[in-house]
């Protein structure tokens, strides 16, 4: 009887411990994941052998590989997403991915010569927020950016960037919803298509 009780107690303790350990490991995984993104962007931006256009392309590829544009595209469309046909959903999702990486990716190419640090990672529900700072090696102001991360298909992906308390995800949802409200979803998708074309040139 004592053996059974001891085993049961042992299993309970083990389950508690493994749960805590798994959470800590995940937080550490998120920290490493975001550190790799920041350092990779700085490495590309600081590479003197690359032309401006090569830097832009490499950073776009980097952003594309770590951002879950599909998740974001659904979130930013909000209530309008449900009304789309499957074909429209797929079209919008791909257009949004192109829009996102081509609009925001190139902005990181100005991050040359900076240092990057993940100051802390918080877990909130199924999301993680990594608080980071880019700061110049000499002087000047540091840039504080929070990366919001979530797990998808067993992989970590960035789903939002927050600077000065302003979330990219929320800003875009507000902007897109307002634009759709003004001109309708078809016109909006058409405008997005034109924008993507001009960004790619």
């Amino acid at each position: 009887m004592k053996t059974i009780l001891f085993k049961s107690f042992f299993i309970t303790i083990l389950l508690f411990a493994s749960s805590g350990f798994s959470q800590e490991k995940k937080v550490e995984d998120v920290k490493i994941f975001v550190e790799n993104i920041g350092n990779s962007i700085i490495r590309i931006a600081s590479d003197s052998k690359l032309s401006e256009s090569q830097k832009k392309q490499k950073i776009i590829l980097e952003v594309d590989s770590v951002v879950d544009a599909s998740w974001i595209s659904k979130f930013v469309l909000g209530k309008y997403y449900r009304d789309l046909s499957e074909q429209q959903k797929n079209k919008f999702s791909e257009l949004y991915r192109q829009f996102m990486i081509n609009t925001y990716g190139p902005k990181f190419k100005n991050y040359n010569g900076k240092k990057f640090e993940v100051t802390r990672v918080e877990k909130q529900a199924i999301f993680y927020t990594a608080h980071t700072q880019f700061f110049p090696r000499d002087s000047g102001n540091q840039i504080l950016i929070d990366f919001r991360v979530k797990e998808q298909n067993g992989k970590l992906f960035v789903i939002d960037f927050i600077a000065e308390g302003i979330s990219l995800l929320e800003s875009q949802r507000s902007e897109f919803n307002s634009a759709i409200n003004q001109s309708g979803i078809d016109q909006f998708i058409s405008n997005l298509e034109k924008r993507v074309e001009s960004l790619k040139k």
């Binding site: 009780l5 389950l15 508690f16 749960s19 999301f127 797990e151 939002d160 302003i166 307002s178």
Partner: protein, 263 residues
């Protein structure tokens, strides 16, 4: 005893289920279909401007007209002055001018910090003010920052927010730009109370003002130009990239204010 041990096993089973379930739920994320609950969860955790949150724009039609007017004035006058300021005034001078203006606002920020129950920030404001006003030569050099004195600027609109006053409707003020009813009220208070004697409205204590009216006007003009120069890139990018410039600026304003209040 046998019965008790069964109960204990059931307890173990219960805890096992509790702790193993999250692993299964992570497994469900592997499904490509995206769960609406995730969006809801995201909103509950982080959202500051979603429809379910306390942000309202009942005067949108009027606000858009005022915004268009402000945008016109900005594009053809204020922005051009700010570009000229950036191009013709050397960076060290611009930085010193900004330091000087920020330093002037420190006592007022300290006052707001203390009444918001943020004594650490209030003390940081005061320390920064004393150091920069003396060693930093009247605030021209931000010596406090080099000593790692980090602070936030707090105004009366934020103080009202900390005390639970709702933002009220979003409003766009002619020439002054985005605000809310609460922030506009705070702004009136901010302008009327001034510990440095730079009181532009001359409400209360104007006789004790340390500087002349012309200097006050000049400092306000410099403040506007400096602020606009600081935002040149952000506003220009947003104007060019946004599908609805008005909605983007509204979202930026509301999110930024909320994050400052929640800090």
């Amino acid at each position: 005893m046998n019965f008790l041990s069964k109960i204990y096993f059931l307890k173990v089973l219960f805890f096992s289920v509790i702790f193993i379930l999250p692993a299964f739920s992570k497994g469900s994320l592997k499904n490509d279909s995206i769960n609406d609950d995730e969006f809801l969860l995201y909103e509950q955790q982080f959202s500051k401007t979603s429809e379910s949150q306390d942000y309202e724009d009942p005067f949108e039609s009027l606000n858009r007209k005022t915004f268009a007017f402000n945008n016109f004035v900005d594009r053809y006058f204020v922005e051009k002055i700010a570009i000229g300021y950036r191009n013709f005034v050397p960076n060290p001078i611009r930085r010193s001018a900004r330091n000087f203006l920020v330093n002037l606002s420190m006592p007022y920020s300290a006052f707001n910090s203390f009444i918001q129950g943020k004594p650490d920030n209030g003390l940081a404001n005061i320390s920064s003010f004393i150091i920069n006003s003396t060693i930093g030569i009247a605030g021209l050099f931000d010596v406090a920052k080099n000593k790692n004195i980090i602070y936030d600027y707090e105004d009366f609109g934020q103080t009202l927010g900390v005390y639970g006053i709702k933002s009220g409707p979003y409003i766009v003020l002619p020439l002054l730009g985005p605000s809310t009813l609460r922030d506009f009220s705070g702004r009136i208070f901010d302008t009327s109370i001034d510990f440095m004697g730079l009181n532009y409205l001359e409400i209360g204590g104007s006789r004790d003002s340390l500087v002349t009216k012309d200097t006050r006007i000049a400092s306000n003009a410099l403040f506007i130009i400096d602020k606009r120069e600081e935002l040149l890139d952000v506003i220009s990018q947003t104007r060019n990239e946004s599908f609805d410039f008005y909605a983007s600026m509204r979202s930026f304003y509301i999110q930024n204010r909320k994050s400052k209040i929640l800090k």
